[in-house]
């Protein structure tokens, strides 16, 4: 019997003469495989190590371990109320874990001082589940907020930057700049929130259901936006989503939470190939 796929017209390259070369390749491969486990530890930008959290008697997270490296997009999936948003809040240090560590850029965030927390948060951009735009500020002031607070940029430079990011999220700056959040549609609000999160070019981006309640076309636009951010700015992103198809499109890694634990962690392809009945039922 022939190992070759049937119908392949190409003649098979006999491998006998290149025995030595093949050995070398194999050795190289083995070396890289052995180096693999140590490697991600160093480059993890956000890392949760065995994190436990409860609200009063309500135990929400029972030992979550998760790492996100530079240029990676991790999608957190799970049913409603399993603690997906809570994980993002932990990374932002809006909550502290009962047990375990949350590391951001190699620092344990429970241990950093009040001033350092503010600096740490400037290195992150967060898109909240409900957008959380400031009601009293118009779109320009909302998007400019991180720049006004933390940089000495002159007003016209800020104005240019705001227009730039608004275009980046496919909004027409002239149309929306002076509108109040209440005058925007849900999808536009989400996009303004994304613009606000990326305006100061943070290396870490956190998205809480950026596409929930949006139509498929807008969902796709926002997914493409997240992909664009990864390829152009090479940010590290954590995306919470209910949308399995979105996850498949944008994730380099997925994590499925159930009962306060990550019951599946792997690439989207692995997830779709997974035999676990709960994973299967979640995907279908």
């Amino acid at each position: 019997m022939n190992d070759q796929p049937i119908g392949s017209g190409e003649p098979v390259e006999p491998n006998a003469p290149d025995e030595a070369l093949a050995d070398e390749v194999r050795a190289e491969l083995r070396r890289s495989l052995e180096a693999e486990p140590a490697e991600p530890k160093k480059s993890e930008i956000v890392e949760l190590r065995d994190v436990w959290l409860s609200f009063g008697a309500h135990q929400v997270l029972n030992g979550i371990t998760l790492g996100v490296a530079r240029g990676e997009t991790v999608c957190i999936l799970g049913g409603s109320g399993v603690g997906k948003s809570t994980v993002l809040r932990l990374i932002l240090r809006l909550l502290l874990p009962d047990q375990g560590e949350v590391m951001v850029e190699g620092r344990d965030i429970s241990a950093v001082s009040y001033v350092d927390v503010l600096q740490l948060r400037e290195r992150m951009g967060m898109v909240f589940q409900g957008s959380a735009l400031f009601d009293s500020l118009n779109v320009h002031d909302n998007v400019a907020f991180p720049l006004v607070e933390h940089t000495d940029m002159p007003d016209d430079a800020i104005f240019d930057r705001v227009r730039e990011v608004l275009s980046f999220v496919d909004l027409v700056p002239e149309d929306v700049l002076s509108l109040l959040p209440a005058e925007l549609s849900g999808g536009m609000r989400k996009r303004v929130a994304i613009a606000r999160a990326i305006v100061h070019e943070p290396p870490i981006l956190l998205f809480d259901e950026p596409t929930s309640g949006l139509d498929p076309i807008t969902t796709r636009t926002i997914d493409e936006l997240i992909l664009k951010l990864r390829s152009e700015l090479s940010v590290c992103a954590v995306v919470v989503t209910h949308n399995v198809r979105s996850a498949a499109r944008i994730a380099t890694e997925t994590a499925l939470i159930k009962d306060g634990q990550i019951i599946f962690n792997g690439s989207p392809e692995e997830m779709f190939a997974c035999e676990d009945p709960y994973v299967r039922s979640f995907l279908s």
């Binding site: 932002l92 600096q119 948060r121 967060m126 400031f134 607070e149």
Partner: protein
Amino acid sequence: MASARRSAARLTRNAFFGIALSVQEYFALVARLLKSCVSRPFYRRDIVQQMDTIGVQSLFIVVLTGLFTGMVLALQSAVEMERFGATIYIGRLVGASTVRELGPVLTALMVTGRAGAGMAAAIGAMKVTEQVDALRTMGVDPVRRLVVPRFLAAIIMLPVLTIVADLVAIFGGLLIAVVKLDLTTELYMRSVYETLAQSGFILKFIPIDLIQGLAKPLAFGAIMAATSCFYGLRTSGGTEGVGRATTQAVVTTSILVLAVDYFLTQILIVMFVQ
């Protein structure tokens, strides 16, 4: 029976600890607030905006409150005083009671109903829509950004509003005195002046009564802003929670204003009345 008693005991204990914890949180907020008042950064634009919201926009209700209070005071006392032919002392009564008590207290209560409720609702709405978290995420301290401007604006504007209320109340009393009791403006005003002069002057021209009348609104403004923002910041549970926070803010502030008024009066009497 025993278990019912035990669970009642537990409920009481939990309620007690709940309150103790809230009081502790309240004072923690006040401490942070005071610290933030004297250190950078300041949000000057927000302070001015809050002064407008608390002060200018409350002016109308404060004027109405003052006017009717002054008029009803004059009317009520006229009935009594006419019996003794003592209507020339109407000015004394109106002046003393408004400047010392009713001006500060009624102004504080009215402004609490309007601006205090507004503060709790605005901050509460920001809390439940994650805007407060968004602030923190962007490296901004919500106490500094949201509470301090309201606190400063309140302690500046409440004394001003109180003076307005006092003046309008005295004018309201004058209206009744002149129209209903046939007193002359001069007689009425002299009697107002006499009662203010009675308790003496500081630096020869600032009536001690007025110091009392301004120390109080300063305290009431601080209480109103701190309490309303406290309830606003601990709002949870969606829009319903915002309603609850607003109610709690108004009720608690009103009670605190009345209680603190009593103790402040006591202290001021000890300090100024020999």
